[in-house]
Symmetry: D2
Subunit: 225 residues, 4 copies
Amino acid sequence: MSTALNYGQAFALWRGAAPDWSAYTEHAFVEGLKDGSLPRENFLHYLRQDYVFLIHFSRAWALAAAKSETLAEMQAAAATVHALTHHEMPLHVKICANAGINAEELETTIESTANLAYTRYVLEAGYSGDFLDLMAALAPCVMGYGEIGAELSGSGGPYNDWIETYGGDEYQELCESVGALIDQAILHRLGTDWTKGPRFNQLNKRFATATRLEVDFWQMGLDRS
Amino acid sequence: MSTALNYGQAFALWRGAAPDWSAYTEHAFVEGLKDGSLPRENFLHYLRQDYVFLIHFSRAWALAAAKSETLAEMQAAAATVHALTHHEMPLHVKICANAGINAEELETTIESTANLAYTRYVLEAGYSGDFLDLMAALAPCVMGYGEIGAELSGSGGPYNDWIETYGGDEYQELCESVGALIDQAILHRLGTDWTKGPRFNQLNKRFATATRLEVDFWQMGLDRS
Amino acid sequence: MSTALNYGQAFALWRGAAPDWSAYTEHAFVEGLKDGSLPRENFLHYLRQDYVFLIHFSRAWALAAAKSETLAEMQAAAATVHALTHHEMPLHVKICANAGINAEELETTIESTANLAYTRYVLEAGYSGDFLDLMAALAPCVMGYGEIGAELSGSGGPYNDWIETYGGDEYQELCESVGALIDQAILHRLGTDWTKGPRFNQLNKRFATATRLEVDFWQMGLDRS
Amino acid sequence: MSTALNYGQAFALWRGAAPDWSAYTEHAFVEGLKDGSLPRENFLHYLRQDYVFLIHFSRAWALAAAKSETLAEMQAAAATVHALTHHEMPLHVKICANAGINAEELETTIESTANLAYTRYVLEAGYSGDFLDLMAALAPCVMGYGEIGAELSGSGGPYNDWIETYGGDEYQELCESVGALIDQAILHRLGTDWTKGPRFNQLNKRFATATRLEVDFWQMGLDRS
């Protein structure tokens, strides 16, 4: 992928230390989105699970607002929750409706184990830890989709709408602002020498585990499990 | 006060069962706001503490979003956090600036014990309990200010701006919608017979304790403690 | 299984409503323990993961102590955490050592997805919900092992020690006392008519999801995944 | 006080940075315990509130067990919760009974604001933060009583039993082991240079706030408020 992406310093370090990063961003599911070979029923299975995912993802950002230590952090997290619950989720309902999945079907989706593993891992990281634990666990999702979108942008094909949602300017700017939020939050809590203490490894591990769970999430889409 | 206020059924029950409700809504501090006899320095002391209060109040609403069980709950809580962090708090900073308290002074306010007792009680209720525990602990603040605003509206005097903020239509509608949110959340979790089980007493107790802490908060304003 | 087991009324209801209960208690892994056909390497894989599981299981019981509302609840939860951390876990280390897995290997076990899904589901249920959410999420593990132990007791074979740990009197009494604790906690919070309100379905769902994750856990042992 | 007390390095730093430390350990209530001049009714008021305090104090240590990151931390926290719920609290009930306060009276004690402020501050620190936030918030109570006990030991008088409970070897050893636990936990999470990062000031602030709330707690005993 392009090295021009500017999602911040912490993300760059975490990404570099996560063994499964390319297994995630270059997963067969992603390749199938790119060349259009992904069967539609797999995409629909993914969409349904992704709706359930978004519920818990929004809850995790709300928890980040609750665990904020500055007004700027609180505002950033609150804006994200607001955007997710008032725009992303209704949009998701609409996209699913267009794809033939009605709202009732969405609401009654049985959460797959891969979904449950990922979302509860993130939420528990947030409840047990602090704002940084949440950020390290949320970053693979936020920024990984940004990288994938940027990489696939322009591919066209049946999944073009999905691709350009994440490859477009708006989402890319979101990734940059979340990256800046994370760098600022680390500076505020751990200071400039943060990579020298044990917290660095702990956050690396959070990010790496969440990345592994993203791989499982794509695989769930492929297996329709 | 007027019985015309329509803040929902649960609130009406909780209010009726809280021994200190009138000690709160008719506190000497409130009387001083009404007739303008409250010394300005007491009002400024209150304003500074109220800014710190708003930080934790926003965090509590964010926690409510994290503990939501329906999209409607999540949207309502998220909208509240967003409004608090993007409008109320900046407005508060501006009001304080007009009153001669600059942003730095606000940020370095030492949290009074009454403030700390109240905000941590609410947050801990939320962390230890569920969405309803949070609502019962937040309701005295939200709706009590609504009642006070409605009661004092039209009094004029030096505190007219403050009074009309809470007595005005916008805030009154907020109280009505929070009341509806609470009634709906109770129905969703406890069903129609909820007043017959032990949870009714537990929630009554939450509301009553938060009301008592509101009394202490006004007293802190009066004592400048 | 024998209907003589007396693990309380709530457990009996939850068990009856969980679609995957027999898929869990009669899983191929369990059959392999019973007739001794389970390959040793699968058992060792399970043991390693079970050690990681016990860490989070202990944390969940500690959270239950933090979310207790009576001294009796707090004492019961505290005694369980104490027994887990001072007896079960050291015993597990010893069993693993006898099986050729040293302490360092145990500590560096990479948590499987099935393990992570289950433990974080339980902990998040506890953080987001209350004592009852925790109990409903913990019960399938506590009581399921009790049922399996009682069912397999006397089978002999290579896994006899494991079997008799759960089939023996001490563990059976633990299941009975946890069952009584749960019934008492429900009575305290929801009253006698608790099966008539929406909370009944929510707790059923918690128990059923945890049961499903137990099935995945056995399958992980079988697949060494 | 004697400089011979060995409650660890973090405690020594936190204590040195807390403006109200001597206002706490040399409070008029403490002086009254020492010279026996404290009216008995004030002591009984304190005892009743202290029972309620112990409930939440135990919950906070249980939360510490849930937020532990090593087996040693979990064992230490679990042992503390167990001792509190199985020995301290029953002992407290007995002491109160001897002082003429029966169990029912104890259970129906109305929590004072000072009590509520302190306990909820500690619990919220734990829920919002991590193990270290909890330790910094709990340390003033644990070690402050140790210092007071050591200082007052040998005074005799009507409060001798209370004094020697905290001045005795058993409690002094507890303080030393909690001090070692804290130092170890900091090393594990923040490394050797921890006093150079922003976390140092955050933990100082936690400790200082909890110390201030201890002063309020003694004052509550004096005022019977």
